[in-house]
């Protein structure tokens, strides 16, 4: 059985649409000594560890890597190949566990630090988000959002000439279906909005990942206030440096993923421009018909604080 979770603080979920900057927010939060930031755990995909491992084994992506690396670092304080193997073995021996118990184990292992869990897959699926309500009703929810134009450009750049792209990222009105990032952007953000609507108001906040590069101070203050964090400490330890956050960088061959590969898209990030240049009315560079954002996307973006531009 897992250690008691009684004294472990409630976790923080970072919920975002794909390519909305959740990894950079996670890296920034890693600087706070009271927080322990995980890789992408993908725990919300299933109720039982056995089902979770089955999903991981069939995955054509990097699902499971973040859980293995997080577990390895929490248990063995490293995430090299031997530790990943040990983590895999550890999980296989606990296939009968509910995933909620596995989460409690991670929470207890990180205590007294507070677990921060980035999630960019579950927001696409309300049934996955419902597990947050069931497992951690006392958690804080941070809705991380990025303007749909840079988000779309990044996702489109990532998907370009990629063999496997999740069906959730495609527009099936076109034959063959084409990647259209505004669809997962809308889907995830509206699902998060619905979840937050029923959440305790003092335990959820919205942060704009676009501001991390432009006004990092304001953004940080927003998060510090929402989560009750201390001031950013002096970088006394290397692992507290965001740029040194190990789980936000490529892992060993057995589990290289576990984070959003946004940082790998250097040229696309450079070409994003800045917030003054982003518009909700311009034609979309990734669409063959050069159509603009749909009315639903524009309405959602306005709700989330973006101007038409």
């Amino acid at each position: 059985m897992s250690p008691p979770v009684r004294n472990a603080p409630a976790p923080v979920w970072l919920l975002a649409a794909p390519f909305s900057g959740v990894t950079s927010v996670a890296a920034m939060l890693n600087r706070y000594p009271e927080l322990w930031v995980t890789g992408e755990l993908d725990l919300l995909l299933a109720d039982r560890v056995s089902d979770l491992l089955a999903i991981f084994s069939l995955s054509q992506g990097t699902q499971g890597h973040g859980l293995l690396r997080t577990l390895a670092r929490l248990q063995w304080e490293r995430d090299d190949s031997p530790a990943i193997r040990a983590a895999q073995q550890w999980l296989e021996e606990r296939q009968d566990w509910p995933c909620s118990e596995l989460l409690n184990f991670l929470r207890a292992a990180a205590a007294p630090r507070r677990l921060v869990i980035p999630e960019r897959d579950a927001p696409l699926r309300p049934h996955a988000l419902r597990r947050i309500t069931a497992w951690t009703p006392d958690a804080d929810l941070v809705h991380v959002v990025r303007h749909p134009l840079p988000q779309g450009k990044l996702l489109a750049a990532w998907a370009h000439e990629r063999l496997y792209v999740p069906v959730d990222f495609k527009d099936f009105s076109q034959q063959p279906p084409q990647v259209d990032p505004q669809l997962p952007w809308l889907r995830a953000n509206e699902n998060i909005e619905r979840l937050r609507r029923d959440w305790s108001p003092g335990h959820t906040c919205l942060v704009h990942a676009d501001t991390t590069s432009n006004s990092r101070g304001a953004f940080r203050a927003e998060l510090e206030q929402a989560l009750g964090l201390s001031d950013v400490p002096a970088l006394a330890r290397p692992e507290q440096d965001a740029s040194a956050w190990r789980l936000g960088r490529q892992g060993p061959d057995l589990a290289p993923g576990g984070y959003e590969p946004e940082a790998d898209l250097t040229s696309a990030i450079t070409a994003l421009g800045n917030v003054q240049e982003w518009s909700l009315t311009m034609s979309l560079p990734w669409r063959r018909d050069r159509a603009g954002f749909t009315p639903e996307v524009r309405a959602c973006a306005r709700r989330l604080g973006y101007d038409e531009g």
Partner: protein, 495 residues
């Protein structure tokens, strides 16, 4: 519009363990492949069967890519006893009784044992103008060697007799729809056949007929052929909602269409709710199921012939659920995201097509029971061992290989039932045909005072092809043939 977060009054949602088997093996006859129609009437559940469906499919014409054929077939289809049957279940005694068997006629093939009806595909309780009380009506499927299909009437659930037919053309072979609306009974042909071949899902006429008095032959068409669109090949499903009659089509060219009418004098005025398969095109070739629930009309969409319309080269693709509001706006509930004429749509449930099951051919039936909407699917996964997969896309083959064909079929073969209390949040009831992977379809779901009945399509009898020591052989299948399950919450313990 969506209903996430709204509270609804609902009873107890059924789980798989709440269901018990009331009959198996096609009522003891593995040729009863489909529990093709069902209705609650005078305190009993009635089930009409279709016989030898998978055998008929094999002998109707060549089918490439399936080897061996999953069930043993005689060389002459007419050597089989394909007389369709009606069975009645009495809950108090937990007993099934055979109440009707199709007569035979002298066929155009010269045989004297041709069944009048090889299937009973639609069933409804309707009180027509001359009926002293609601009666049970059953729409039949007749072979082309017999006669045009009939509608049977029973006032007592024991005696069945045909009523005057609509003016069907000679190629019409079956109807699956029977609907009471605006004081008239309505039906539409949904299958056709001649000596040159047959198709069970495409009709030679895409028309809805209506009749206020079923004792007469006063059937009149109330819709134009294909609602005015020649590409609408069949009116496949009908339902009532918000004071309208709705009709959903098969359209292999551009995708299924949904139409509605307030009724009135024939022919009715119809307006189109959506076309082009609600923006998905051919992959929503057919409207397969319709059901009103909590102020919306739920629409099951997919591809005929189990999710792969071989003759038209459509699919395979998994099924969707859409819901339509009275103002004709619609939501995607289960399915594939897309940009449509009505804006961006994504699956509100979070589930992709087929409830994330590639093998879900269609959503076959909905039923509202105790405040919950139930959806029953068809799965073609059980055909996997017989399909030549060499031509499949490499990534799909790799996925099947990774999972393992046996593990897939044994663990996940069989149709599914899902339920929802609000239309958005769905939970599985069964994902493997109640543990019998030969149950490839939840063909009928019927809400009754005794619980929810689930009647299956299970064409894997009487003998099924099984591989032993590398060789295929046909062996008797004790779990082949349709099954009927009854779901009810466990009784509260005595105080």
């Amino acid at each position: 519009m969506d209903s996430v977060g709204r509270a609804h009054a609902a009873g107890v949602g059924l789980t798989e363990s709440d269901f018990r088997l009331t009959c198996l093996n096609g009522f003891g006859d593995g040729l009863n492949h489909y529990a093709h129609s069902a209705a609650w009437f005078q305190g009993r559940l009635y089930v009409g069967t279709s016989r030898g469906n998978l055998i008929g499919l094999r002998l109707a014409g060549p089918r490439k890519g399936i080897r061996p054929w999953p069930v043993e077939c005689p060389s002459d289809l007419y050597d089989l006893d394909r007389r369709a049957q009606i069975w009645a279940y009495t809950p108090e005694t937990d007993q099934w009784a055979l109440v009707y068997r199709s007569p035979t006629v002298h066929g155009t093939n010269g045989r004297d044992d041709v069944p009048s009806y090889i299937g009973l595909r639609g069933m409804a309780v309707i009180q027509s103008a001359s009926d002293p009380h609601p009666c049970l009506y059953v729409s039949a499927w007749s072979p082309h060697t017999a006669h045009s299909p009939d509608v049977l009437r029973s006032a007592d659930g024991e005696n069945f007799a045909p009523i005057p037919r609509p003016p069907f053309g000679p190629a019409v072979r079956t109807c699956r729809t029977l609907l009471d609306f605006d004081g008239r009974a309505h039906l539409s042909p949904t299958g056709s056949g001649t000596k040159k071949g047959f198709t069970q899902d495409l009709s030679s006429e895409a028309v809805i007929y209506a009749n206020a008095d079923l004792a007469t032959a006063d059937w009149v068409p109330v819709s134009a052929e294909g609602f005015g669109n020649p590409a609408n090949a069949t009116v496949f499903e009908v339902a009532t909602f918000d004071g309208h009659m709705y009709g959903g089509t098969v359209n292999p060219l551009t995708g299924g269409e949904l139409w509605k009418s307030r009724g009135g004098d024939a022919p009715y005025q119809w307006t189109r709710v959506f076309d082009q398969g609600a923006g998905r095109g051919q992959h929503n070739e057919v409207i397969s199921a319709l059901c009103e629930f909590r102020g919306a009309l739920y629409v099951g969409c997919g591809i005929i012939n189990g999710g792969y319309h071989h003759a038209a080269g459509i699919g395979p693709a998994a099924a969707e659920i859409i819901r339509v509001w009275p103002d004709d706006s619609w939501d995607l509930v289960v399915g594939e995201s897309r940009v449509t004429a009505q804006g961006a749509k994504y699956p509100l449930s979070g589930y992709g097509a087929g409830f994330d099951n590639l093998f879900c051919g269609y959503v076959w039936r909905f039923s509202v029971h105790d405040g919950w909407l139930y959806a029953g699917t068809m799965s073609w996964l059980n055909m996997l061992p017989y399909i030549q997969v060499n031509a499949w896309p490499p990534d799909v083959r790799a996925l099947v290989d990774a999972w393992g064909e046996d593990a897939l079929v044994q663990g996940q073969g069989g149709a599914e039932i899902w339920r929802t209390a609000d239309g958005v949040n769905w939970e599985p009831v069964t994902r493997n045909g109640f543990g019998n992977h030969y149950n490839w379809g939840m063909r009928n779901l019927v809400s009754t005072p005794y619980g929810l009945f689930a009647a299956t399509a299970n064409p894997f009898g009487p003998k099924v092809a099984v591989k032993r020591a590398g060789q295929w052989e046909y062996t008797p299948n004790p779990r082949g043939g349709c099954e009927v399950w009854l779901g009810a919450p466990p009784a509260a313990p005595a105080p």
